[in-house]
Subunit: 535 residues, 2 copies
């Protein structure tokens, strides 16, 4: 009854039952993998069955004499020492192995310290676990990734001792932009929930938090220049807003984990809530020659719109440290513009009567010029390029429309723009069963194009739009489904076997649960450290 | 970007945006309803705009002089006094209304006290809120439902005062069996999670917890007669089992809320985990005349199977207080039986060669005879009747197969059996968007049959099978989606307008959140008491 024989879920169930039959009790019903396996899969792993005891209580990280000493690493050492000591392993300490106990992991940073993660940051590292353990990286960002990998390699042997296999890992990400989009406009997300998911992002080696902070439904961003935006446009200016202090907290928390925070201020559409606090910003819609009470996208024909954008984005520039801002530019409806006689007149005067794509282009062109002048680089949704806007060379185009993403990828890269792919990874699209396999199996370079075009693909993003999620359900809906995207974007293209990934992802899901992230189950199974109490 | 114009979700989003336009800020984007509205909708509500102040801090319930005094009600008074005092309303107390303040709700129980909820319990009540407030019911179960209704009627007026509208309510459920199935075999559910959902069931006037306690994947039920069942068959006998004490705690918690606990021990299929602790119980499967290492359903041809069932169910009978047990009987695969030469011989000797439905019937017939002799009444899945088993008159048949439930409903009721409907309400079937509307709109009596047949429909069940849920995600997946089923089963058939229900369900969802149930959002919106911290 837990399944219907004309249902995919049923096959999974039968498969699971047979798995029990084959594996016997008490193996999880998800196949088997070696303990201490890493997610996402590192580039090169040379492991041996030889085990080293890890003294998790006394464990610490230490710089090599010749290493750079960086604040970001200092903070990471503390975090991972705590994480390792709290790994839940009973750690009866008895060195039963003929090898030395590892109680220190030496760390070597060869390059200069960096304070802010960026699109150009180096995340590669070399990790040796053995008689001469060492974590070696050219930058602090590589150290962060290596610490995460090391923390995942520790497991509890049958005698209850913390151990790790003798292993040599050479690792670096396949893509530089590995993002997760969260939407705080359809529903407000409390800061603690954002921080919880930044933590989970670090566990999965994501490196960009795409913060879709405002939209038509609400404007929780507290602007000091235009305070009416949140006072009139948020769901509640009392407790459902992001103050400058909260935003600084999110950026700092992310920075220490090597995660960039890229805010999105989507215009000219998706701006209903903006208009509540900024009269005159949005287009007045007409019916029968009279205003009908509705409003449309930002009015592109009046200078006041651009002055507003310039002032707002200048404030944003001073607050968000990343070089990039996301300008949106998607789904602009033309009906309200068409209904407005002043816009009709303006378009006639500018020789573009009836060409509303051209009008949109005029708006976006000015906004990107303003944004560039402020010192931002920018990401835009694909429509901006589809509408023929000329963007700066360092523009990143995000492909989201899901009917033929491979066609759009070919088109945008042919124009010479760097692209990130989101289309296959809209996590709000729910089906029964293991949809993570679908996310996992999508190959970003699977489009017709030259090697040069494919080199323009710099990554992708898992997106969880906010229509149906808030603090009550967002974390289990994200994890481990987003983990599938994380491995696709970090690991080599050849790491694409769903069956091999399944038990490793189950192990990773249980690891997240043990670390306090309520990651949902893959299918019938249990974790050694099960989620006993959600509250 | 939060939606795709070729997607249903997109229409919802646009709708939501327009709603903002029409309603203006800060109304939730879900339409409007009167505050203090009740879910599920009572049978008859006569409300007036006149408001009464509720002194929520000093508030208490008191028996009328002539009322029965019952322990179940005493406990409920304490729970609801606490719930009302913690309703989150600031309760600045200033009687600005020209009417008396209500600080006591008198309660009258006209019938005898009952200790155990049952299929026959009376849940009707009459509630007056006004100058002479009174909750009147013939049984303590009606009092429980009335107390829940009263607690939902209290709201915070603009001045911050707790108020309720002058109201006269005559209420009783449409159906006697309003169940929720939870599956603790595909994933273990900690007791605190079961209790949280029993609490939520009471908030939604569900009255049956259908506990699918064991299945092929695991056997968490601790039997004192056959301890190997959980020692060998559970995911972990250390922490992923239900001891007699835990089961007693669940039954008592449910009893005090007027919720029956009906355990399901599904046989002869779905029993893989049973066989791990009870060698010889399951059928040995053969390939090429030799045992192949696999096992099938319970072996129906040996007496030891029936002795085992009798002993186990006798223990269960002493533990679970409800008159009913669920015997399962679904999805029995025949291939293993067919492969077994001893079964072939036995069937030949009993003149049923090749008729495996008959063999299944022989098994089920004996099991229901044993179960009846022990003193249980029983519920069975539809296949049992489809296979021609003769069941006792008080048998309840549960219809779950979703291709043509209306055909099955007609068939089972034509045979004179009482039926409960589960088919349209399998909550693990996920789609993007507001699937609660689909659950809400399904009419249980929508099949071809006489009035007499339709009178045999005694209710239904929302089912959440456990393949993809555990403590990390079960509560937000259940609520408020199961609430749609709750209203369908409690309220009159005529209460079926999805648009009218939407804002009321949003209000109910926010009420559950305020009470500590992480009920997920319906669509873009917020709650006055939003879920700020899941942990």
């Amino acid at each position: 009854m837990g399944c219907r024989d004309f249902f995919a879920v049923c096959l999974l169930l039968v498969g699971a039952v047979h798995a029990t039959g084959k594996l016997g009790y008490p193996a999880p019903l998800l196949g088997e993998t070696s303990p201490g396996s890493v997610w996402p899969q590192p580039h090169t792993v040379t492991a041996s069955p030889q085990l080293y005891t890890i003294d998790i209580q006394a464990f610490r990280f230490e710089y090599l004499q010749t290493s750079q000493r960086c604040h970001v690493a200092d903070e990471a050492f503390k975090r991972y020492q705590l994480l390792i000591s709290r790994s839940g392993i009973k750690a009866k300490f008895h060195d039963k192995y003929s090898t030395s106990v590892i109680s220190v992991l030496p760390v070597m940073i060869t390059g200069p310290c960096e304070d802010m993660p960026s699109l150009d940051m180096k995340e590669g590292y070399i990790l040796d676990v053995g008689s001469n353990p060492l974590l070696n990286a050219s930058s602090v960002w590589g150290v962060l990734r290596g610490l995460e990998t090391f923390s995942q390699m520790i497991w509890e042997d049958p005698s209850g001792q913390a151990v790790a296999n003798k292993t040599h890992i050479i690792d670096e990400p396949r893509y530089a932009h590995r993002g997760l989009l969260l939407d705080t406009a359809r529903h407000f997300l409390p800061v603690n929930v954002i921080l919880e998911n930044l933590e989970a992002m670090a566990y999965n080696k994501f490196n960009v938090f795409h913060w879709h902070i405002v939209d038509a439904q609400s404007f929780p961003y507290v602007s000091t220049v235009y305070p009416n935006l949140h006072l009139k446009g948020s769901y509640s200016s009392l407790n459902l807003v992001y103050t400058p202090e909260m935003i600084a907290q999110v950026i700092e928390f992310a920075r220490l984990r090597g995660i960039r925070v890229v805010p999105e201020f989507d215009t000219p559409g998706h701006t209903y809530s903006w208009g509540l606090g900024q009269p005159g910003l949005l287009t007045t819609c007409y019916t029968g020659g009279k205003p009908n009470g509705d409003v449309g996208p930002i009015n592109p024909t009046v200078n006041s719109s651009y002055t507003f954008i310039k002032n707002l984005f200048t404030e944003v520039r001073g607050q968000f440290k990343d070089k990039y801002i996301h300008l949106g530019g998607d789904e602009v409806p033309f009906d309200c513009w068409k209904s407005n006689p002043n816009i009709t007149t303006w378009m006639a005067a500018h020789n573009m009567s009836g060409d509303y794509a051209k009008l949109e282009q005029v708006y976006i062109q000015q906004v990107i010029d303003i944004t560039g002048a402020i010192g931002f680089s920018y990401i835009v949704w694909q429509e901006v390029i589809d509408n023929g806007v000329k963007a700066k060379d360092d523009t990143v185009v995000e492909v989201w429309i899901n009917n033929h993403p491979e066609v759009e990828m070919a088109k945008v890269t042919a124009l010479g723009y760097r692209t990130i792919l989101a289309a296959p990874w809209y996590l709000e699209e729910l089906t029964v069963g293991e949809d993570w396999k679908k996310y996992y199996s999508y190959e970003p370079t699977n489009f017709n194009g030259t090697a040069q075009q494919k080199a323009l693909v710099i990554g992708g993003e898992a997106c969880l739009w906010g229509e149906y999620v808030d603090a009550t359900n967002i974390s289990p809906r994200l994890w481990p489904r987003a983990s599938a995207v994380a491995e696709r974007l970090w690991s080599p293209e050849t790491v694409n076997d769903v069956d091999a990934a399944t038990p490793r992802l189950h192990q990773h899901r249980c690891r997240m649960v043990q670390r306090g992230i309520p990651a949902e189950p893959l299918h019938p199974s249990y974790c050694v450290f099960d989620w006993m109490n959600r509250k």
